[in-house]
Symmetry: C2
Amino acid sequence: MNDVCRYIDDHGKESVEELFDLVRMPSVSARRQAIQETAEHLAEKLQDLGFETRIMPKRGTGQPVLYAEAPGDSERTILVYNHYDVQPDEPLDEWETEPFEPTRRDGRIYGRGICDDKGNVMARIAALRAIKETRGSLPSRIKFLIEGDEEIGSPFFEEFVDDNRDLLKADACLWEGSGVDPEGRPLLPLGVKGLLYVELSCRTVARDVHSSYATVVPNPAWRLTWALSTMKDEDENILIDGFYDDVRDTTDAEADAIDRMPAEEEAFAKSLELERFVLGVKGKDFRKRLYLAPSCNIDGLTAGYQGPGSKTISPGRASAKLDFRLVPDQDPHDIERKLRRHLEKHGFEDIQVETFGAEHPARTSLDKEWVAIVRDTLSSVYGKETVVVPTMAGTGPMYPVVKMLGVPTADTGVGYIDSRIHAPNENIREEDFMMGIKAAAAVFDAFGRWKG
Amino acid sequence: MNDVCRYIDDHGKESVEELFDLVRMPSVSARRQAIQETAEHLAEKLQDLGFETRIMPKRGTGQPVLYAEAPGDSERTILVYNHYDVQPDEPLDEWETEPFEPTRRDGRIYGRGICDDKGNVMARIAALRAIKETRGSLPSRIKFLIEGDEEIGSPFFEEFVDDNRDLLKADACLWEGSGVDPEGRPLLPLGVKGLLYVELSCRTVARDVHSSYATVVPNPAWRLTWALSTMKDEDENILIDGFYDDVRDTTDAEADAIDRMPAEEEAFAKSLELERFVLGVKGKDFRKRLYLAPSCNIDGLTAGYQGPGSKTISPGRASAKLDFRLVPDQDPHDIERKLRRHLEKHGFEDIQVETFGAEHPARTSLDKEWVAIVRDTLSSVYGKETVVVPTMAGTGPMYPVVKMLGVPTADTGVGYIDSRIHAPNENIREEDFMMGIKAAAAVFDAFGRWKG
């Protein structure tokens, strides 16, 4: 791999420029912004590497998937999952530089989506270019599946995979992108949490009312407050009947892996200017909650007057955006039904539930051979022990790949603890990006040599 | 008064145009917008009637008061309280016409502040013009006190009155403006509720965080939800320790007046498209809650992502705007202390309290002679029995006048049940405006003849 690594080092500047071009495209899926042109831009990049590309529609409201395929030395196939869409850039006033104008500062490069997920897709493309330019061919058959609406919960992705089972057939999968831990050790996550994203809303009256009527006119912000307070208590117990029923017991191998993961909470707390995590958790307990516990989170609250100073009204409408992170074997559709039953049972029939996203949790078992191959490859590239992570805290549409296609899935990437994904000032370190390209090249190479 | 009424009828068009000119001035006190020019505009109007005017600063952050005084036939003095500022115009998309471009439609005239309080101040000016043009003089000494920040809780008004006790000395006061009930009977309110307006806010971390960390990072929207739910229960009981301690018992005269007030809740419910008021109250119980009960209202909620679709974050900050309407003898400063103690006692030291406004409740006793004079005058002008209202549901800075100056205070005006004050599409009926001018003229005239 020395020749490939030299090529990567010699072309670092172009790789970063190529990443910047992609980050400049404001592909916010929540606003359906710049979707088609971003897919086409990436398709051209892959065509240059000899891939055949197709921009494929999803069913329903789904945004187009970029599919690309190229043959290689091994007839075995690796499926590469990424996404070209990004989170919204709000709150704008907390960005130090423009979200869609990538900027270099102190060894870091900033921009919306530069870590999640554009840095990862560009690292993989740069890796394959280095291999192809150096050796003349790719190590194996490679299939890229690059989604356009991962950040809004990958609607209709299950249906897409179901509709294209033959096309997507593969022997292993490389997932969208992880990173390194605070010690610089490569992280190898093997699973994702599921997600249920809903908006609860309540309209009590046709319009805002002068607050002198607050004694008699029902206030939807109070209704919402009371409803939410029945759903989770101050000790973080989620109170929806049956919420925890399908949570699978942790295996010994998972518990052992969690135990061996490095402490990460101090650096993270520092970056958040936070003194104490929820319930005061630290060390193993922090990691157990972070990786293995399901959650019920308020993403946003909206009601009435939010401007400067005071305005005395009882609002007509109030709403809350909520997400539930789910762990195996919780089913988002089942949790949605339980949530509706909960609201009904507590007398909140006036609260409407609208579902914006539902994804199943998924994990690749720690005993798969593919896991060992990626683990050893990463340890060798980074010169440090790989940290195997039984599941990420985050969500991705891994379930259709792991469960429906039956493909073992592992994850490597360009992020680090302070990458601020989904938040203002999202960034990666330039050195992590370069290492990410080399790691991707080594993993593609190892897959090509795997006879499994 | 026939000559005066004829003059009023003959000059109706000019009076409405003059009101429109005032409504076009966007004097939103919460934004300190168009304050000085609106005060000057009104000062010119009063100078034309022979008033000496002064635009007087308040202490601290207070916005200027327009004071105007003119002598008349009687040496006794009536104080007229109004305000020239208005509520913010948001939510803009619910207005059918521009808030600051007054519009006629089906006998109604629309615009922000057209009822609260610009229609009332212009009705009084039109009334005095009619008297002066018809008779050559005003009926008594008249002092106008027109505030510029009533809609943000009249900051420093108590201090202003205290600093100007001699200047403001009077024998009776005409308050800012009431209206007619659904049967067209004139309403005569004699008191106001107090107000405490606060913003509760919580910042747990320095920035928004990806919601996959929701299991470990404290969420300020949950903290706020839990804190609010300790403050009022679903049966509308306010749970702050000692909140009800100083609520004075209702007198027999007040209870009798409330009993005799007309049912108003059906028309109001219809205008709100509402089926059931809080706790299902109707009739006398509705009026008892509306006029005599204190409240704890959520005016607004803000946290995290509020745009379209989904964004998966745990927000860094959450806030709620709240107002408490208070009844005699609750003290807003005492309630603020009790609120802070409540939050502390329930473990919510992480919730900040910022106070935006504090006003005392006040009532003029039903047995004052001035009450009888205004009541009888209104009955005669409207040809219908006057409805005496022991207190309004709303708030105004009546306490310094009633308590500090010791002046009996009564209220007449141009509004009606669907005037939508503080809400989109604020409006008055043109006929109510004309009747309001005549009623104001008759009240000024009756005051001039009162020997009391």
